[in-house]
């Protein structure tokens, strides 16, 4: 408690002191992180290298270890083995309050007994920043999230979205080395979720702060991330840009989790796979035998002749396009994305064909 966390002096180049810091990011490294809870191993040697200023999402189903990884980075959990590096320094033994991080939690975490402005000033006061300076910088941070006018309110007087914005301002005001977001949007309703998601990304880009974002919502991860680490059962299955994950999923797990896919049976023939009489290139390693193929809705189209016969089960209008669920003669359900002008209704007979795009497959169980 004796040595306060250093507050880096900043060049005051703009009116908002927070924005003056743009461009300084910190490298974050996980090196072989293992975490056991009793006899259960939840992280199996996690390795992840995050570049300064990068926005990386940890994406996966609940229980995949993504939150544990974040908490190990925050120092809220002690890794059983492995090293966490911040800016090239091993911080594994550094307690949470000395790691110089900013964190936004899934549940509302504002201090209920403090006004908004005192919430945001909390971290600065703990760093021995003088009160007037702390208040001024808190107003800057609140302005950044567009809530400066609510500075005198108490948390219970704010909506959920406003509370998470204040939590974001509170996490950023100390100009931390890394911003940790633990499913900060999951308690919010859909519209606010999208707004705040885009705002987090906008602010992150302006500040240039290294950010780790934990989410189970693949759409969220695809929308905001520089890179996404897809996790499953305590391991990273694939790490890449949103485009790479979506177009070239390395494993069936990634294919199933990122984006919408239908499972269609096919026969693998080395580096290609035969589906409905079409030969498609294989996205992953070569293999042979019966497989299940992950087919994206946008790679299936309605055709007038040829193709596979199917019956329409449901069709949903989604603005510029329609997404239609059909059932083929062998009982396979397939999602088709097609122009809204091609109207189909329940029980219609249609014909579908698949585009020759690379696909991922998994052996038939």
């Amino acid at each position: 408690m004796t040595s306060p966390i250093p507050v880096r002096p900043l060049p005051r180049t703009s009116e908002n002191s927070l924005l003056a810091d743009a461009g300084s990011g910190t490298r974050v490294e996980f090196r072989g992180i293992v975490k056991d809870y009793g006899a259960t191993r939840v992280l199996h040697g996690l390795d992840l290298d995050i570049a300064p200023g990068e926005f990386v999402s940890l994406l996966g189903p609940s229980g995949c270890g993504k939150t544990t990884a974040l908490r190990v980075l925050a120092g809220l959990e002690q890794a059983t083995d492995g090293v966490v590096m911040l800016g090239g320094t091993d911080v594994s033994a550094v307690p949470t309050n000395k790691r110089d991080i900013g964190m936004v939690f899934q549940s509302y975490s504002l201090f209920p007994h403090l006004r908004v402005i005192d919430n945001t000033a909390f971290g600065l006061l703990r760093r021995k920043v003088a009160k007037p300076e702390a208040v001024r910088r808190s107003h800057d941070a609140l302005a950044l999230v567009g809530l400066d006018h609510l500075a005198d309110r108490f948390p219970h007087q704010l909506s959920g979205g406003q509370q998470q914005r204040v939590a974001l301002a509170r996490a950023l005001v100390t100009e931390p080395r890394v911003l940790l977001l633990d499913e900060p949007l999951s308690a919010l309703d859909a519209k606010v979720r999208v707004q705040l998601r885009d705002e987090i990304r906008r602010i992150q880009l302006r500040l240039g702060i290294t950010t780790v974002f934990v989410t189970h919502d693949q759409e969220e991860a695809l929308a905001v991330s520089d890179r996404i680490a897809v996790m499953n059962a305590g391991r990273i299955e694939q790490i890449g840009t949103p485009e790479e994950l979506y177009l070239h999923p390395a494993t069936p797990g990634v294919a199933a989790f990122v984006g919408l896919s239908s499972l269609v049976s096919g026969v693998a023939e080395g580096s290609s796979v035969r589906v409905w009489g079409e030969v498609l290139p294989l996205a992953g390693d070569a293999m042979t035998g019966d497989v299940e193929v992950f087919v994206r809705p946008e790679n299936v189209r309605l055709v007038a002749a040829d193709g596979v016969e199917a019956t329409v089960l449901e069709s949903t209008f989604l603005g510029s396009f329609r997404r239609t669920l059909v059932r083929t003669a062998d009982g396979t359900h397939v999602r088709v994305q097609h122009p809204a002008s091609e109207r189909v209704e329940f029980d219609d007979r249609v014909r579908i064909a698949i585009d020759p795009e690379p696909v991922s497959v998994r052996p038939t169980a």
Partner: protein, 264 residues
């Protein structure tokens, strides 16, 4: 209409019966303090300020002073020993909670007279080490108030997500001291206040332990005075009841006041 609710008349009867149960003894005591020969007067109340009777009432004032010191020490035990332990168990050792809860609630099921049998030899040791001052009784009272204080504080802990709040505070650079003092304690304020007031009420109401351990406190002094002046004892009893009543109202109000004060 709620068919299960008792009728208006039934409710009235229940209200009157329960009210009478509480009011009659107090009213009788009050009337008793007003008796003056065959008539009524305030002479016994006025006697409290009478210098001639001061020596007769002296034990009560000494006892009251001792009781107040005891109350302060007991509340300190609750706030600085029980509350931090509960926070620690909640945050760091949640698996200890069932055992801890059992232990803490145990004193409620042990009669004071039984407790004294065990406490007597311990207090012989305490007397040798710390003297026989009345304040040492606080150790025993610290145990007897545990169940009441525990329930009051636990209710507040369960109402606030102190785990997330303390993690948020830690991530903002607060050490454990700042977490407890600046974040957890203010949010547990209603529970801590209620626990303190209940502790005071228990300390001012306990007789068996104080009497059998030969400590002079308010309650034991009351018995001493009663032997010489029954009227005075009744007056003090009423005052003590009124004090407890005010305490209960304060607890009720404290629970309702919204936590909310600026940190400045």
């Amino acid at each position: 209409m709620n068919r299960l609710a008792p009728s208006r008349a039934t409710r009235l009867v229940i209200g009157i019966l329960v009210g009478a149960f509480f009011v009659i003894p107090m009213l009788s005591t009050f009337l008793y303090t007003l008796r003056d020969g065959d008539g009524f007067s305030l002479v016994h109340w006025a006697a409290l300020a009478d210098p001639e009777k001061a020596s007769a009432y002296a034990p009560i004032w000494v006892g009251l002073g001792n009781s107040l010191v005891l109350a302060v020490v007991t509340v300190a035990i609750v706030l600085f020993l029980l509350a931090p332990t509960m926070i620690l168990v909640h945050l760091r050792f949640p698996r200890l909670r069932p055992g801890f809860e059992f232990l803490v609630l145990l004193p409620i099921s042990i009669p004071a007279i039984v407790l004294v049998v065990g406490l007597a030899p311990i207090y012989r040791e305490i007397g040798r080490m710390l003297g026989t001052g009345a304040w040492t009784l606080a150790f025993a009272y610290g145990i007897t108030v545990l169940p009441f204080a525990y329930r009051a504080i636990q209710a507040s802990i369960d109402a606030v997500d102190i785990r997330t709040l303390s993690e948020a505070a830690r991530s903002l650079g607060a050490g454990w001291g700042a977490v407890v003092v600046r974040v957890i304690a203010p949010n547990l304020r209603p529970g801590l206040l209620a626990a303190s007031l209940i502790s005071v009420a228990v300390v001012l109401g306990e007789f068996t332990i104080a009497s059998l351990l030969n400590r002079q406190v308010f309650q034991t002094a009351l018995v001493v005075v009663k032997n010489t002046d029954g009227y005075a004892a009744a007056v003090f009893t009423l005052l003590a009841l009124a004090f407890a009543f005010v305490l209960l109202i304060v607890i009720g109000l404290a629970g309702r006041i919204r936590v909310g004060k600026a940190e400045s």
